[in-house]
Amino acid sequence: MYFLKEGLKNMTHNRMMTLASIGVLIAGMLLTGTAALFSMNVKLMIEEVGDSNVTSVYLKDDIKSEEDAMVIGEELNKLGNVSTVEFYSRDEAIKEYREALGEEVFANMQGDNNPLPHVFKITLSDISKYEETMAQVMSIDGVDSVGNRSEVAGKLTDLNETVTNLSFWIVIALGLISLFVISNTIRMSMYSRRFEISIMKSVGATNSFVRIPFIIEGMVIGFISGIIASVIMYFLYDVLVSALNNIFVLNAIPFMSVLVYIIVGFIVAGMAIGAVGGAISIRKHLKKEGKEVLNW
């Protein structure tokens, strides 16, 4: 109780520095949290995409009418390894684009001005014969190209790796900055209490007794940062999910299902950084203080 009280007292001594530490910690946590959630969602996406063996068959641009397209559809249906064929007309496609991206851009791309081709979505019964089947599909007259969603999956994996690598370094950097700012905050509160510390040392307080309130100060800063970061993360997550939805429509991981991990993770990380930051600065100070108890 004594320690907690002293720790809290320290925080109010240097309000600006305390706020700065909390700010930096929150920034670090949000970045880590965003990166982690992003990565989790992208992984989920990759699984979804990779699992489905749906392949898009794009028809040549000169096949404009749906009737012509249907002929090719028949041929696709005749192929042994193709289990389902689903038609996806260029009109449907442009409509979806329009809905997703805005009326204006696609306003004059209707009817004959539509740049998109007709698409068939086919599923294969045996995905291991993928290459063979695709060769057969390509040989059908009027088929322009086949697009596999595994390409999307590959791109997502690349993106995920980039984000993971980048965020790893940024998180490390922000972690170090947080540590630096926190230890400076605590150094300042130690400085403002150096008189009391010198009295404590002169009456025989052990170093750990002197140290504990400052470590608690760091942990409280970490705790507060963790709480605030969790709340901000909750709102930020919506933004993140809608950003991801631009890449690929997915069922995002609901925030509530990871809520506990986020909160616990943030708080534990914050408190750990706070404690370490406090310990670093007091260690230096106590060594010096040993020579300056009396200030003679």
């Binding site: 004594y2 008189f195 009391e196 010198s198 009295i199 404590m200 040392k201 002169s202 009456v203 025989g204 307080a205 052990t206 170093n207 007794f209 002197v210 040993g290 020579k291 108890v293 009396l294 003679w296």
Partner: protein
């Protein structure tokens, strides 16, 4: 008991050094350390508190060689000492009571114990009624008494006072010294660094004079002789008391009577 064996301490700046100090201070002594500034007085105190470690020689306090003491044992050594500073070193945010209690709190004393003990020492220094005041509301002499109370609160066997009267007027200085003398009579060793010769002359005690880091005078012999004389005197008083008690109440055992007379003395 404090013992310096061939202690030298040099500083890079060259000041405040001490040179080949040999000294023995027995439990219960009242010692003045005097000398001009820079003579090494404070260095001696720092060596006793293990603020400093000697360049050569040994400092032994209560049978423990401080030169071999580990860092983490230093706080426990300091708990056997009470330190009084020239500038009082009181925390003005805290009341007088809290200032004294602070010294107990930081070594982990229980709240109930703190309450009892703090009031007792404030009573001893005559500041019971000032307990809820803040240091800035007190006079210099009173502040120094608070500082003294804080030094005493953990029942140290040694009181170290560094120029305790340096910041207060002569009349109040004498009061502080009288309290120190009282504490000494209860068995606590008292070490006072001062340059006020009037005080040294007013209060009987052993005087160690330092100059340029060396002991140039030590009145140990006179001090011991004087103490012995006083002891003999009080011993004589005790036996006189015993005799009279014997004649009055022949049935009471001798042990109990000695106990009784000791209590009277205190």
């Amino acid at each position: 008991m404090i013992e310096f064996i061939g202690v030298s301490k040099a500083f890079p700046e060259g000041n405040h050094a001490v040179e080949n100090i040999n000294l023995k201070i027995e439990d219960g002594e009242f010692v003045f350390i005097v000398g001009p500034s820079g003579a090494g007085k404070s260095t001696m105190l720092k060596l006793i508190m293990r603020e400093e470690v000697p360049s050569s020689g040994k400092v032994i306090v209560n049978g423990r060689d401080l030169t071999k003491m580990k860092r983490r044992q230093v706080p426990y050594l300091r708990r056997t000492m009470g330190i009084v500073f020239q500038d009082f070193r009181l925390i003005d945010k805290m009341t007088v009571f809290e200032n004294v209690a602070f010294a107990m709190r930081v070594i982990g004393a229980k709240q109930s114990e703190i309450k009892k003990r703090v009031m007792a020492v404030l009573d001893l220094v005559g500041l019971e009624e000032m307990a809820s005041r803040h240091p800035s509301e007190l006079s210099g002499g009173e502040q120094q008494r608070v500082s003294l109370a804080r030094a005493l609160v953990n029942k140290p066997s040694l009181i170290i006072a560094d120029e305790p009267t340096g910041n207060i007027d002569p009349k109040r200085s004498y009061e502080i010294m009288k309290i120190l003398k009282e504490i000494n009579k209860m068995g606590t060793t008292v070490l006072v660094v001062t340059h006020e010769h009037t005080l040294v002359n007013q209060i009987p005690g052993r005087v160690i004079v330092l100059k340029d880091g060396e002991i140039v005078k030590d009145t140990a012999q006179e001090y011991y002789a004087q103490r012995e004389k006083e002891e003999r005197k009080s011993q004589a008083e005790i036996s006189r008391f015993e005799e009279s008690a014997d004649t009055q109440q022949e049935n009471i055992g001798a042990d109990e009577e000695i106990n009784g007379s000791e209590e009277n003395e205190n």
